[in-house]
């Protein structure tokens, strides 16, 4: 039982802690897991989250920054005031829990549809697009000399990488080809400025409360690159969950996002944001294709994975709406 290892671990680094209770797995594939638990403490229980790769699954997939880098980024973000959980402990061999880290649990909602529809968030919703602009500006300003080692990716490399991923699927899709051509024709080249890019900043990876964004999660795709990538990705239609007229995560307009970003002292390049939105739409479409391939060839023969394969057409219609819009 994981509680035995967790109890031993917390007693080593959390002063006064006597053990843990209520450990429950929140999500997890074969290589990465998220657990919630409470640290038993004389001052009252402390909510915590464990993110780990179990023993024997140390190697991160090629695009991922790795859990150690993730922990470092979250702590750095926390220190400069970007909403983020505080990292409490980075796992060591002594913990016998695999690799990963333990962080403070932030209460709130991550399920996009609830955030977009429940009454509880009604007051926060109209403020979120602008707030997200400010958060992204803070994130893009994280001091580069303190960042962990991260891969560096510009627009040109990303196009080539996605093209390679798509071709490896052997899945001829005229709309994806059209998008690849468009991306090559509109490749903005290296950005004026290279910053930290979160890489998966979107509705679904944010903990939101009635007061707004409380934490930015899932830093595993963080890299160095064009800051406009994050602004484009948060606008991809797949993350609007039906609220298609509110490009920023279904919350609000690009203008509000850009205003929040500018108010925090950073410049927006709208053409680059559009480029990254097209790129992001294609990126999710190719990922759907990857799911189909893994369903067909891999060990995960789940219905969920199969059905994600049939969501690639959602990105095709969104690409057409971006690249070949029809009259009203």
């Amino acid at each position: 039982m994981i509680e035995t290892e967790l109890s031993r671990s917390v007693q080593r680094w959390c002063k006064g802690a006597t053990g843990v209770t209520g450990a429950a797995k929140l999500s997890g594939g074969a290589s990465q897991e998220t657990w919630r638990f409470d640290i038993v403490h004389p001052d009252g229980p402390i909510g915590a989250i464990l993110r780990r790769s179990p023993k024997g699954y140390g190697a991160a997939p090629t695009r991922a920054a790795g859990l150690a880098a993730e922990a470092q980024l979250m702590q750095l973000a926390f220190e400069v005031g970007v909403p983020s959980p505080r990292v409490m402990h980075v796992l060591t061999a002594e913990d016998d829990l695999g690799t990963g880290f333990i962080m403070q649990r932030v209460e709130g909602e991550t399920i996009a549809r609830k955030i977009l529809r429940d009454e509880e968030f009604a007051a926060a919703r109209p403020l979120l697009a602008r707030q997200i602009g400010g958060i992204l500006a803070g994130l893009h300003r994280l001091p580069q000399d303190k960042l962990p080692e991260l891969r560096s990716r510009g627009a040109t490399q990303e196009i080539s990488e996605f093209e390679r991923d798509y071709r490896s699927l052997n899945w001829p899709k005229p709309v994806f080809e059209l998008a690849l051509r468009w991306l090559r024709d509109h490749d903005p080249g290296p950005s004026v400025e290279t910053t930290l890019v979160h890489g998966d900043f979107r509705n679904g990876n944010l903990i939101i409360g009635p007061d707004g964004v409380r934490a930015v999660l899932d830093w595993e795709l963080a890299h160095l690159g064009d800051p406009m990538e994050d602004l484009g990705w948060v606008c991809v239609n797949s993350w609007r969950f039906g609220e298609i007229d509110k490009p920023v995560g279904g919350f609000g307009s690009r203008e509000e996002l850009f205003a929040g970003y500018a108010a925090a002292g950073r410049k927006v390049d709208a053409a680059r944001v559009k480029f990254w939105e097209v790129m992001g739409t294609l990126r999710w479409g190719i990922m759907c294709g990857g799911m189909m391939q893994r369903f067909r060839e891999g060990p995960d023969h789940s219905m969920e994975r199969a059905m994600i394969g049939r969501r690639a057409s959602e990105t095709e219609i969104d690409l057409l709406r971006l690249l070949a819009p029809r009259g009203s």
Binding site: E177, M303, A324
Partner: protein, 125 residues
């Protein structure tokens, strides 16, 4: 010729059974998986009903666009190659329209509740 009920009728009967009789008995993660299973059967039913007609029209459009004959898979492969090489693009008469009709036909099977699809369905092309 195979006997009846047809595959559509058979698939529908299973989906209806799961929806009406099994759904009330199940909760939690299994209920989520059951919903996915029902969605799959509904998708299969839509495809069995619609594919024959839409694929035939797709082949017709592709033959006109490419000037060659072949199966729907072969013709899609050729179109993809020609777009990749830059021989065909949005300025090519008929391409945008073809891609729109084809994509709308796919969404009608895959995700008829997708908001972008519903929006485009209400538009006069």
């Amino acid at each position: 010729m195979q006997d009846e009920p047809t595959p559509v009728e058979l698939t529908k009967s299973v989906a209806d059974f799961l929806r009406s009789d099994i759904t009330p008995l199940i909760s939690g993660h299994q209920a989520f998986k059951l919903r996915v299973a029902i969605n799959i059967l509904d998708l299969v039913t839509r495809q069995l009903t619609q594919e024959e007609g839409s694929a035939a029209k797709e082949v017709e459009r592709l033959r006109a666009l490419l000037g060659i004959d072949g199966s729907v898979t072969e013709l899609n492969r050729v179109l993809a190659e020609r777009i990749a090489k830059g021989e065909v693009d949005l300025a090519t008469p008929g391409l945008a329209e073809h891609l729109w009709v084809t994509t709308m036909d796919k969404l009608a099977v895959d995700q008829p509740n997708y908001a972008s699809y519903k929006r485009e369905l209400g538009r006069n092309p």
